[in-house]
Structure formats: structure tokens, C-alpha cells
Amino acid sequence: MGKHFDQDKVAAAFSTLDVHDYGDVLQCMRCGLCLSSCPTYRTDGVETQSPRGRVAMIKAVIDGKMKASEEFVEHIYHCLDCRNCQSVCPAGVKAGELALEARYRIEQNRRQPLIKKFLLNYAILDQKRLSRLLFPLKLYEISGLQSLVRKYDILNLFSEDLGFMEALAPKLPSRPLSEQIPEEIPAIGPERGRVGFFLGCAMNLIFAETSRATIENLTLAGYRVIVPKEVQCCGTPNIAEGERKVYREMAENTIRIFADRRVDYVVTDCAACGSELKTYREIFQKSPAFAAKAQEFSSKVRDVSEFLDSVLTPNVRFGPISETVCFHDPCHLRHGQRLIFPQRNLLKRIPQLDYRELPDEGQCCGSAGIYNITHRQRSMKILESKIEAIEKTQAKTVVSSNPGCLMQLNYGSGHWKKGWNVIHISEILNRSLIAGQKLD
């Protein structure tokens, strides 16, 4: 990220920050209740790595008591954006969102590096483009090079980072899901409604088979599924890096696409996308031309567990699966969307499934977008705590519902030689629902 910037300009940008939108920073009475929930405070143990500390630093910059120094900027980027602090703050201070707002104000006032511009302003606009960018990885995999590299741990000889990124990379599908399926898939049985499926970038390009299962589950629930192929990214990476112009363009585009398709719901199987899509109504709140459309769109957005839990009637049969599982709550599901029960309700409906609760009250896994690459050391410490928590449940299958979490947990399972099966909730539900059909 571009280092050089004018501290005074950044400070000036902070002085106009409308803190009221984020639960007035003054509202933070510094009680410290957020500390124990914050993954970075838990790993580092220092106040600068806590939500309370970040709010205090931002307030100090607003009040002109502190320079918007490079160190300050680094602290603002230490936040994982897991929003756990917002779940636990009784005063309603939005410390997580405040950090994102701070990033936006910082990035507006410093030169953006080319690679970042390329990714956030260009590559992300088109999933086909993204797919081509992944092609070298695919080539690397099918050529057999991957297995050689993994076998001899070659990349670690050059750079630990390179080795890490390689280990994180999942097996890619032969083609993105968007190139494998029609745009409309009819309901199985009597049609109950029209569901728009939002193709998340990572799901479409990397976890294509998972999203295929998601779509099948939706059709099994009696819904016609409409899959607009021209959707762009939900914008999470842009927001996380303080980019908002392209973000808004993509959001407007997405809202229009789904309005044209006249769907009853918009379902996603990526927790990060779901959280972002639900935020559009707030983003466009002050835009007279778009507020109503954004409101209508966001109100239709459902996470896949949220949706299935509400539409799968008691007469839908679930086939038995005898496995011990736990559910890792993606932060953007539990804290971003405040969804805790739907995913558990669904898993508990599967006969013979031994569901165990993770004893860490929704701690982050450390994936957090590209945090595991930009802040690898801390990310690994956070992951280690998560691995310990999973270990306590004695689960053999770890279920989650966000691509970043799936990759991170899968990496952790391999790295610490746990041999867990890390899967998306759509996959286990699909197995159970298909088995349930055969029971009839």
C-alpha cells in the first residue's frame, strides 16, 4: 500500500468525519467490554490493538491531539473488520465500521499503488477477467507442478510468503460455475417463488461445486433459481481497502440487475457478500435517486442458511449423516448480519448428526479477506486459537459458510495435521436433502 501521504491532508479529512453515523465516538465510554472479544487484542494484548484503542486514536486525530502518522494508519489496518466489537458493545459504538470509514479517508489522500488500482478498479469489475487471472494457478495445478511443489516444499525455499499462499490455494474447478449452468434453473416440485442467486466471486471461481449444491438446495426447497451471470463483485474488498467510487458503481449495477429479474429474494452462500449486499441500503441512504431501490434490494437479501431455515417446512425430509461436526461462524454472518441460529437450526435437523458448539463465542479465524496475506503472523496466531477451539469440540467435520474461512480453516487443518473435513454448509445440507428425498 502506498506509504507516502500528506499527514495534514489526512488529518483534515478526519476533522469532517460525521461520527454520528458510527455511534458518536463520544458515545464510547471506554468501558473495555470490547477488549475480550477483539481478536487482535487477544493476540497482541495491547490497547492499540483494541476497538476501544482504535476509537480513541481516531478521536485524537479528529480533535487534533494526534498526527495522522504512518503508525496511526497501520493501526487502522490492523483491524480485521470482524465486527465482534459491534456485537458486544452495549453503547452501540460501531468501532469496526469506524475503522473502515477511517481507511476511506486515508486512501482518498494518498497515492494508490498500481497493483491496487488494477485489482480494485479494474480486475474486480468482471468475473471473467478475474477468472483469467486465476488461469496461471489452474495451469500450475493441472500441469502437475503443484503436487511436485507441495511434495518438496519448493516455494518455501524462495519465500515463506509464497509458500504460504501456495498452501492456501484450493483446488480450482475446471470452469467457473457461471460457465457451467443455465441462467434459470426450475424448482423441483411445485414452484413457491423466484430466488435470485448472487454469484460471489470466490464462490463462482473457486468453490463452484459448493454453489452448485446451494442452487440445488434452493430448487429442492421449491424455488426457481435465477442466476444473473453479469453480476460484479459485491464490493467487500473495495470497502476493506478504503475504495468507494468503484464500489458504488458495482453496487448500483447489482441492484439494477436483480430489479430487472423480478425476484422475490436474493440469496447468497458467501457470508461476506451477504453482509455487504445488506449494507447497500445504508450506503445509498442519502442518495435521493437510489435510496428506495437500494432499500428494496437489501431487504430481499438472505444468507443461504437464513433463507433455508425459514422456508424448509417441517415436512421436508433430511437424510441421516453420522458425523461429529461444529460450525465456525463467519464474522460477516454472526457479527455482520447478526445471524447465529439459522445455521445451527439447519444442522440440528440432520438426523444422527452430532453437532458440537465451538466454545469461542464467534471468534474470527484470521482469514478476514486478505488479512492472512497482509498481516500473516497475527492471522496465524488467531487461526491457532481457532484450531484449539475446534479441537475441543472433537468434531471431524468443520462446517462454515464463507470462502475465506473455508480456505483458512482448510489450511489450518493441514498445517496442524488435524485431517478435518472443512466444508460449506450447503454441501452437508445437500447430502442430507438428497438422502432425504430417497427416504420418500
Binding site: M29, S36, E47, T48, M66, P90, A91, G92
Partner: protein, 461 residues
């Protein structure tokens, strides 16, 4: 001067343990006390006694103040470095050294988090009762320094009632271990008990032995709803006068209930004037007997409804909601200023009536909650620090409230400590002779006044 001192600290302790950048100083300039912020010159994270000794030796050479800090959740400014200098953070000294299940005690380092101690001992069917509102993050060291109370105070007492032995460093670098694991120990002055609640002005604790009790077999939680806050207050003294001491007897008024419900959404009724959260614990037969008395006491005081928690989860929800009260009040207005008066229990209705009166007279908004069962109330002003006129009225209101508390035979602080904000009321409360005596004691331990300066005693200007 400062720079060379900081570099000496780094040299002695290593750069990992010494923090001194601008953001660091900002982040260690506060605790949970409103309107209070003083920047230190450096922060040291102590990992062991050796680190503490090094800090004390260097600070002595350079004549620099030292202020000890745990998680920074105090409500009277105890860990805020009023005179700058070093903030000595003990959160990294967080080992539970020993749980002695045969002799019912636990030995810990000061940085152990209170609720983590709870889970560790409860897993062995033991119980450490003190449960301050911030227990999820507060440290035992801080609890001992402030003699923290909590919800279970009326039946089980407060932190000080559980401290058996302390290892204490003094500002000159000397160290004393005082007290034993013995239930009876009257050898010499009781320095252990003296040290508790000295708000970090006498010594720095590095090893703490706490008494444990057997975990209560069962408990029953009640939620009593009232149309008049005075009726709720009267219920408290009725229960006590009928010789029942519940493990918890908490009061929340309407303002508090609404803020808590805004956050927790557990279905607290918004239209009631006050509620009492009551819990009886112990042997099942005793709990049942006490439950009958509690119910009768509530009915004798115009209760609207009495709910009994149906599950452990429901009870936990109610307690969590109560613990959130202070922070939840913060959502109403930008600045939240709370106080901590305590009065004899029969005087609670009179105190509540006065608080209501003052609210109107000074034209401010007050939410009151607190541990009514032990007479400890937290009238909390919801205000805006930018409105100087209103802040002035808030101080006026507290002056009246403090005066009344003292006249009723009460105290200006039940559990938060004197610290910075209440030092001006302390002379009214204890008199000039007692202040002089305390100053002499302080001088014995810390003749140059470098350990946590600016607290308890009004600083002469």
C-alpha cells in the same frame, strides 16, 4: 530527559515490552472513567517480577512516577497516569499459579482476568464470588487494588474478603510477601487487608492468594417489576429485615431498563418504573424457603409482576443484561457520568426519592441502577461533555447526592474507589484528621510520592 529515559527502558527491557509512540501514549491515557485522560511518557508491559523491579529501579534513578494498570476498566481513574511517567501494565502476568482444591484457595498473578478465574475454579466445583460488572476483562490485580465489589456483594462480600496473601513491590524496589493460606492468621498488623483497596498508591501486587468457597448447589432467579421505584427500594429493606440475604439483589430504573433493552432485546418491559433482579443460591431446601420470603416481600410492596427464570440460560441473560447496564446507558447521550454512593439499606427509599428530586431540580437526566441489596447505587448522569452548562448542573446534582449519602450514614464510594474524581469529597466524608493519617501512611511507603500520584488526596496547587 524523557527520551534518554525511554531509551534506557528499552535497553533494559527490550523493545517488545516498552511502548512510547504517540498512538501508544493516547491508548494508555485513559481507563473507563469519564472525562479523564492523561498521557504517560512510556508504557511497560511486565511479563515477570524481574521486569517490575527493573522499571522501579530505573524510575527511582530518574525520579519518575509509576502507575500500575490492568485492563483499564476502573471507574475512578485509578490507572490513569495523572503526572505522566510510566504506566506499568500487568496484563501479561496472567498465570493461575495454583488452585488448591483441598484447602480452598487459588494463587494467581495479577493479570488474570476475573471471569477466567471464575471458569477455572468453577470447573472444580469451587467458587470465587466477587463479580464486578467488568469481570469479563478486568484483572484480579485491579480488583484487589480497587477492592472491587459486584453483584454478589451482599451475601458473599467483596474482593477484600477473599484476599489471603499478597506479594507486593514498593516504589523503592523492595518486596514483601504478607499473609498466608491459613484461615486464621493474626501475626502482626494485617498488612494484607490494608493493602487491598489502596488504589495502586502503596504497592504493586505480583502474586495474589484468594480464598475460595464451595460452589452453591443451586440457584433461583427472580425478576420483580414495579410501577414505582420507591416500592422497589422498599422491597429491598423488607427482604433484608425478614432475615433473608439473597446472593443478588439488583435494582434498575426505567431509564436504565430501556437502554439495556435497546441493546440486549431480551424482552424487558419498557413501561415499568423499576425492576429488581433477585437471586437466591445455596442448598435447594434453603433456596426454596428463601424464595417464599422473597415472594412475600415483593407482594407486600405493590409489585406488578414477579417472574421466575425458567432456565439457567434465562437467568444468565438477565444477569448479562444487568452487567451491561452502565455501558448500555452510554447509548442515550454522548457522555455518561456515574457515581457510586452507598447508604444503609433502610435509607434506600429516601435516597431514591432524593435522586428523583435532584433530577428535576437540576434539569438533568439520571438513570439509576445498582446493587440495592447492599445499599450501593449508581445514579448515572446522561449528558454531553460539550455542554458546559449542563456539566455544571451535573456536578451540582452530585454535590447534593453526596451530601445526602453522607448525612444518611452512607459513603461516597461503595466499590469504584476515590481515585481522581472523588478526592474532593473525601475530606467531607472522613474529616481532616483521617486525611492527615492517610497521608502519613502513604509517606511511609512512598516518601517522594511517585507511585500513582494524584489519587485519593486532593493535590495542592
Amino acid at each position: 530527559m524523557k527520551k534518554t529515559f525511554v531509551s534506557k527502558l528499552v535497553e533494559e527491557l527490550g523493545s517488545q515490552k516498552v511502548l512510547y509512540s504517540e498512538p501508544d501514549l493516547i491508548c494508555y491515557s485513559y481507563d473507563a472513567t469519564p472525562l479523564t485522560s492523561f498521557k504517560p511518557d512510556a508504557i511497560v508491559r511486565a511479563f515477570n517480577e524481574e521486569d517490575i523491579l527493573k522499571v522501579l529501579q530505573l524510575a527511582a534513578q530518574e525520579d519518575i512516577p509509576v502507575t500500575t494498570r490492568g485492563s483499564g476498566t476502573g471507574l475512578s481513574g485509578g490507572s490513569v497516569p495523572v503526572k505522566g511517567g510510566i504506566v506499568l501494565v500487568t496484563t501479561a502476568m496472567n498465570k493461575i499459579i495454583e488452585i488448591d482444591a483441598d484447602d480452598l484457595s487459588v494463587t494467581v498473578e495479577p493479570g488474570v482476568v476475573t471471569s477466567q478465574l471464575h471458569s477455572a475454579v468453577e470447573a472444580m466445583d469451587l467458587f470465587y464470588p466477587p463479580d464486578p460488572g467488568s469481570m469479563k476483562i478486568s484483572t484480579i490485580g485491579g480488583n484487589v487494588a480497587e477492592n472491587a465489589g459486584g453483584l454478589r456483594g451482599l451475601k458473599y462480600g467483596i474482593t477484600g474478603d477473599y484476599v489471603m496473601s499478597l506479594d507486593t513491590f514498593f516504589i523503592d524496589g523492595s518486596k514483601v510477601r504478607y499473609g498466608t493460606k491459613c484461615v486464621k492468621d493474626v501475626a502482626g498488623y494485617n498488612l494484607t487487608k490494608f493493602m487491598v483497596g489502596t488504589e495502586g498508591t502503596i504497592g504493586i501486587f505480583t502474586r495474589i492468594v484468594l480464598k475460595l468457597v464451595p460452589k452453591p448447589k443451586t440457584k433461583k432467579t427472580f425478576l420483580a417489576l414495579y410501577d414505582d421505584v420507591i416500592d422497589a427500594a422498599r422491597t429491598v429493606s423488607t427482604i433484608i429485615s425478614r432475615k433473608v440475604i439473597p446472593s443478588t439483589l439488583e435494582l434498575m430504573d426505567q431509564v436504565t431498563i430501556n437502554c439495556v433493552e435497546d441493546y440486549s432485546q431480551i424482552g424487558l418491559p419498557r413501561d415499568v418504573a423499576a425492576l429488581l433482579l433477585i437471586e437466591a443460591d445455596g442448598h435447594p431446601a434453603v433456596v426454596d424457603e428463601e424464595a417464599v420470603v422473597i415472594e412475600e416481600a415483593c407482594k407486600a410492596n405493590n409489585i406488578r409482576t414477579l417472574r421466575i427464570a425458567k432456565s439457567a440460560q434465562e437467568s444468565e441473560e438477565l444477569f448479562t443484561a444487568r452487567r451491561m447496564a452502565l455501558s448500555a446507558l452510554a447509548r442515550a447521550k454522548p457522555t455518561t457520568i456515574l457515581e457510586d454512593i452507598t447508604v444503609p439499606r433502610p435509607a434506600i427509599p429516601e435516597m431514591m426519592a432524593l435522586i428523583r428530586e435532584v433530577t428535576e431540580k437540576c434539569n438533568i437526566r439520571i438513570g439509576t441502577f445498582g446493587h440495592a441489596g447492599d445499599g450501593n447505587l449508581h445514579p448515572t448522569c446522561l449528558t454531553d461533555e460539550r455542554d458546559l452548562n449542563e456539566i455544571h448542573r451535573v456536578h451540582e446534582a452530585y454535590d447534593i447526592i453526596f451530601k445526602k449519602a453522607i448525612s444518611l450514614g452512607g459513603t461516597i464510594s461503595g466499590e469504584h474507589g476515590t481515585g481522581i474524581a472523588k478526592s474532593k469529597y473525601l475530606p467531607q466524608m472522613v474529616g481532616p484528621k483521617a486525611i492527615e493519617l492517610m497521608r502519613k501512611i502513604k509517606a511511609c511507603f512512598d516518601p517522594t510520592g511517585r507511585l500513582n500520584p494524584g489519587k485519593i488526596f486532593l493535590t495542592e496547587k
